[in-house]
């Protein structure tokens, strides 16, 4: 695994909070997806362009541990690194609350590339 390669700073939007007054869990999947796509863009790779070119990067597994709930007004940073293992890109993504840098979410996301409906070992990164 490489050290943290990419950081994205974001802020909770109120519509992302649910009736408990905290960010709804599914939104953390949105945050880390957006961070992965921004990471790809920082390397010149567009998720939308890949799709238009017939290459779909798809998530095969997500593993998330929720340590600390984020709330209205909170700012946070998503740190992303990855390793390339066989057919998979395995992303390690941690979300830290700002400014105290307490760990909010620890995630591992496995992704694979599908080309014309077939699993592919194409090297996109």
């Amino acid at each position: 695994m490489e050290a943290s390669l990419h950081e994205l700073k974001l802020k909770v939007r109120d519509y992302e909070c649910d009736l408990q007054g905290i960010v709804n869990n599914a939104n953390y999947q949105h945050y880390i997806e957006h961070a992965r796509h921004e990471f790809l863009l920082s390397r010149g790779i567009s998720f939308a362009r890949l799709h238009a070119d017939g290459i779909d990067a798809v998530v095969s597994a997500v593993n998330m541990r929720f340590k600390l709930p984020l709330k209205s007004g909170d700012e946070f940073v998503v740190r992303t690194s990855f390793e390339h293992v066989s057919f998979k890109y395995i992303f390690h993504q941690d979300i830290y609350r700002l400014p105290d840098m307490r760990l909010a979410v620890r995630a591992t996301v496995d992704t694979v590339c599908v080309v014309n409906g077939q699993l592919s070992d194409i090297d996109i990164l």
Copy 2:
């Protein structure tokens, strides 16, 4: 673990699909959350009422494996069972596409109860 206790039939809504034309991964987390809450309701427990009573059922971990993408127009069923281990309720939730009953998503969701900000071993189920 108990056998499957609860089934919820749903249908993909087009706004849940992303630019790849398949259901965006975060929406599966929405589906299984909704299925858990409907399961709770079937036992007379309201997530919103719990919150109003100062009891927050929160997700501490999510583990999802994506086997088959759901698409516009697909119907599916979410099967939910759970086990109570120490402080945790561990939900096992599988999503099957209809009508062929192929497995689309396999998920495990750990939840804990927080009362007044403290982890609690309160028995809600």
Copy 3:
């Protein structure tokens, strides 16, 4: 305008509620979009298929009045009718809370068809 042509019964999902404990406004737009697409399907027209065929039905205007907030556990019905005026399909969509049938949202949605990036007067309904 034709009389109500289509009814879709739905139920609030907890993740659709925000920190005020009521359905977040943007979700009503989701509800009525889903109702329009189900209405189209009831006439044999798939939104996804249209897109695959190069025809994009796009919303040009939305007008919504919010009368009554829906909450966790509420069931509701979306009633849809439409009129075809020049290039536009104008949908009239009302959301009624069940079982008391009180009006929750009154909406008008203008849609147009875009074919190869150009406004089209193609007749899809």
Copy 4:
């Protein structure tokens, strides 16, 4: 009406795009809600704090015209101004695509304050 009082720069996130490859309409409601709440914060008013204090700012009407679809990778700015008319705060919110500053969405949002379930003429701005 006052001149534009507040600007918020944002970027499309891929999960906000639907199967047509453009931002799903409901997400524009999210964008302008977030812009209003950031505007409030810039004046020291927190939407979440208002709610905790028993004051709910709720949307009574939304009027949106969609001029230009935003796509994956697009950046944009939301410009917000408002007028206070009787019980209502009427927000005028325009979304411009960057960098060409073409108008993407023009919106008017009526909001009212509800205190203990009753419409209130409380002055929050």
